[in-house]
């Protein structure tokens, strides 16, 4: 790899970190992040993990968090912060850039650098790198599998086959939707092979024939990795079977038994052009447009000097098929777009280089490059907006069922009350919300030792502190034993009332008064 390419990749890493790392603690924990964090707590404190086939995805997120915690001498769970969790997904988000040298001879050196920079500045990539959920890990392991597969085709070394197998095992142990990626990759491989045989002469070296022994070894490694992780390192015999059983509830969800049923354009709307009343305009149209150029370039075989057309064509088939699969599936949550979006970014790298090379005159090439740089600058600004300024705002296309910042006011109030309460962190708190719609409060109340959680109104709801969903339509202060301190927004249109026993509230007011100058 030349020095210029290396510097380009390093610059991309620096830019990626600069956009992903700041103010990691600011955005309140999403429902899913908090669920993942509390599930991790069990692993951290008891060493136990049990895969749940009905929900909550695979074990890699928890185990990798544990590995990072051990590596960094993490404190006890109560002292964990949002940033500590989100660092893990940042590592994998930036890791996508570090994998690019494995495919530099396939994409072309300069397309690799452009793809690295686009990965660094894509608002979707930046936003979800800062989200403690499984998606970024899945995208990373997917790319690792594809890259290892590509390396295998170039030299037929079994080590690459084994790495690809391990990566697929990690994909499976991360998220159930890996089957979609696998299907797209296999379909793309078949299509590409047919294309090479029937339409175009192969570029570069002849197509590599897969050694059956190597394939079997790779499959074996896949199975072993998945077995180890789903069985929780051989402590849960049902885990590997659950890894297959899991598809029943997911099929059920896609058939309509889910609040996340959206139209085919759900993802593309967010990527191409998104604007809500009073908010800024969002668009990753630059990447989309360059990806289309990249697809055109590979099928027209123009502007691909130094690249491998067969590899790029495979990525094109894979990305188009995966985009189609995700668009057709009724069940959609916005972070799922990362899976096909990464393919688009690789193609955009190819498209950018082709676009710059097509004009014959140098001044035109420079002009195209300058315009692309202006577009990249705009994209980087959007990335900052997405990750920081609008991180919890519904005007951000990537925000979905996000916890409102107002809930932190509730948390601060309850913590302030525990400091005044004679029971301290053993102050009794009752949280009541239908359908257990109280997340991420279990994360925020992790320092309190006596918190009860109800999905229905219990026969005795009273406690020194009660956090009650407004959907219960209660007035627990009617007997004047408690004060209704205020409303707090969990998410748009979802609110809590905070009730505090009168004596505790007066003690709190006295403590505030005594602190005032």
């Amino acid at each position: 790899m030349s020095r210029a390419v290396t510097l380009g990749l390093l610059l991309a890493v620096v830019v990626a970190l600069a956009l992903r790392c700041p103010q990691l603690d600011e955005r309140p924990m999403h429902n899913d992040e908090a669920v993942n964090a509390i599930k991790f707590r069990t692993l951290l404190e008891t060493g136990a993990y049990r895969y749940d086939p009905n929900e909550f995805h695979g074990p890699t997120l928890s185990y990798l968090t544990l590995a990072l915690a051990k590596f960094t001498s993490a404190p006890g769970f109560v002292d964990f912060t949002e940033a500590r969790f989100r660092v893990l997904t940042i590592v994998f988000g930036v890791g996508l850039i570090l994998l690019l040298p494995l495919v530099a001879d396939g994409l072309g050196r300069w397309a690799t650098v452009v793809a690295a920079l686009l990965t660094a500045i894509s608002p979707a990539m930046v936003f979800y790198s800062r989200y403690y959920i499984h998606e970024m890990l899945l995208v990373f392991f997917t790319f690792l599998a594809l890259a290892a597969g590509w390396r295998y085709t170039q030299n037929r070394k079994i080590s690459w086959a084994l790495l690809a197998g391990a990566a697929v095992g990690l994909m499976q142990a991360t998220k159930e939707t890996f089957v979609l990626t696998l299907a797209a990759a296999v379909a793309a491989l078949v299509l590409n092979t047919l294309w090479i045989r029937k339409v175009a002469a192969p570029s570069g070296s002849p197509p590599c024939k897969l050694c059956p022994k190597h394939l079997l070894a790779a499959l074996g490694v896949w199975m072993v990795v998945a077995l180890i992780l789903f069985s929780s390192f051989f402590t849960n015999a049902a885990g590997p079977l659950d890894a297959v059983r899991t598809y029943m509830p997911w099929l059920h969800r896609n058939a309509g038994a889910s609040p996340h049923i959206h139209g085919w354009s759900f993802y593309l709307e967010r990527l191409a052009f998104f604007h809500t009343k009073g908010g800024p305009v969002w668009s990753e149209g630059l990447i989309l447009g360059l990806a289309i150029v990249g697809i055109f370039a590979v099928f027209a075989r123009k502007g691909l000097q130094g690249a491998n057309a067969d590899f790029i064509r495979f990525i094109a088939f894979y990305t188009i098929i995966l985009t189609g699969i995700y668009s057709v599936l009724a069940y959609k949550t916005p972070w799922c777009l990362l899976n096909f979006w990464h393919g688009m970014i690789l193609l955009a790298g190819v498209g950018a280089v082709a676009l710059v090379r097509w004009p014959r005159r140098e001044w035109m090439q420079v002009s195209v490059a300058a315009m692309l740089l202006i577009g990249a600058d705009q994209l980087a600004k959007q990335a900052w907006r997405a990750g920081v300024t609008f991180a919890a705002d519904r005007q951000n296309p990537y925000v979905y069922a996000q916890t409102s910042p107002d809930i932190l006011n509730l948390v601060d109030q309850v913590n302030a009350l525990s400091k005044v309460s004679p029971d301290g962190h053993e102050m009794l708190v009752k949280v009541l919300a239908p359908d257990s719609d109280f997340w991420p409060l279990p994360w925020y109340f992790r320092g309190l030792d006596r918190v009860g959680w109800w999905a229905e109104m219990p026969t005795d709801p009273l406690a020194p502190v009660m956090v009650v969903s407004t959907q219960f339509h209660t007035a627990l202060d009617v007997d004047k034993t408690h004060v209704m301190v205020g409303f707090f927004q969990l998410r748009p249109q979802t609110f809590f009332e905070l009730y505090v026993r009168s004596d505790l509230w007066h003690a709190y007011l006295e403590s505030v008064k005594s602190r005032q100058p």
Binding site: E55, H260, R394, S404, R450, W453, W454, F487, Q493, Q516
Partner: protein, 251 residues
């Protein structure tokens, strides 16, 4: 050397050895006793005093049930009606009118110009960029100067009500003193935590609706009217759409 040391040890008489061992054990026990005592004391301090034959009732609390991604409420959804009962009518003298239009309006947010604040009395009560006044975050107020001491019967105000939201620390005061240091009367105060420093309120927080919030002023005599707030459940900025002050000149 080793043999000499061994010889020295075996040469010490048994009673002396026992005394020395006992001394060592005693010293160690003495050194550890504060730690043991502290822990015991701490344990005792944590446990409530309980009479013989009684015990603290241990209530097992249910843990939180895990749930999947919640539904994302779509933008622009209509506000659900929070009450199907209309606001009861307030009965006032028949010469009471809205005194607010044309009056001098000021604000604690010095960025809010007179032109912007004039939107509060333009008669437009729907929340939009063109009809709303945005004040900075923190405790902020808007103040009306009625020009003379008037009898105020009702103050009706609308914060932003384009989505379900609750404004915090809403306080309504009237006074004959423009600085509100002398003879300031509080008509409404849901600042339960005394954040604004004007006293802990006893009124409840409420959801904003297109009805606005009506505060019964009961004919109180005042020249100045102040409305405070400190952000909402939707964000830290303060937003007003319209203010109406119903009264008549004082007799």
């Amino acid at each position: 050397m080793v043999n000499a040391q061994k010889h020295m040890l075996t040469n010490i008489s048994s009673p002396v050895l026992h005394r020395r061992l006992a001394l060592c054990v005693g010293l160690v026990a003495l050194a550890l006793s504060p730690v043991v005592a502290t822990n015991s004391f701490a344990d005792d301090a944590a446990k409530p005093a309980v009479a013989k034959g009684m015990k603290p009732l241990e209530i097992k609390l249910p843990p939180p049930a895990f749930v999947g991604t919640p539904k994302d409420a779509p933008a622009g959804t209509n506000i659900e009606p929070l009450s199907d009962k209309p606001r009861p009518l307030l009965i006032v003298p028949d010469d009471v009118v809205n005194l607010a239009p044309g009056k001098t309006i000021t604000s604690s947010d010095t960025n809010a110009t007179a032109k912007v604040l004039a939107k509060l009395t333009d008669g437009l009560k729907e929340t939009s960029d063109s009809t709303s006044v945005l004040l900075r975050k923190g405790v902020q107020y808007v103040q009306f100067d009625l020009g003379s001491v008037d009898e105020i019967y009702a103050i009706v105000f609308w914060h932003a009500h384009d989505a379900p939201k609750v404004f915090h620390d809403v306080i309504v005061q009237v006074s004959e003193d423009p600085g509100f240091k002398d003879k300031a009367h509080t008509l409404f105060n849901n600042d339960v935590g005394n954040v604004a420093g004007l006293g802990a309120g006893t009124d409840r927080e409420y959801f904003e609706t297109n009805e606005g919030r009506l505060v019964d002023a009961k004919g109180i005599k005042a020249r100045y009217v102040r409305l405070y707030s400190q952000g909402s459940t939707d964000g830290r900025m303060n937003e007003y759409t319209e203010v109406e002050i119903y009264g008549r000149p004082a007799k």
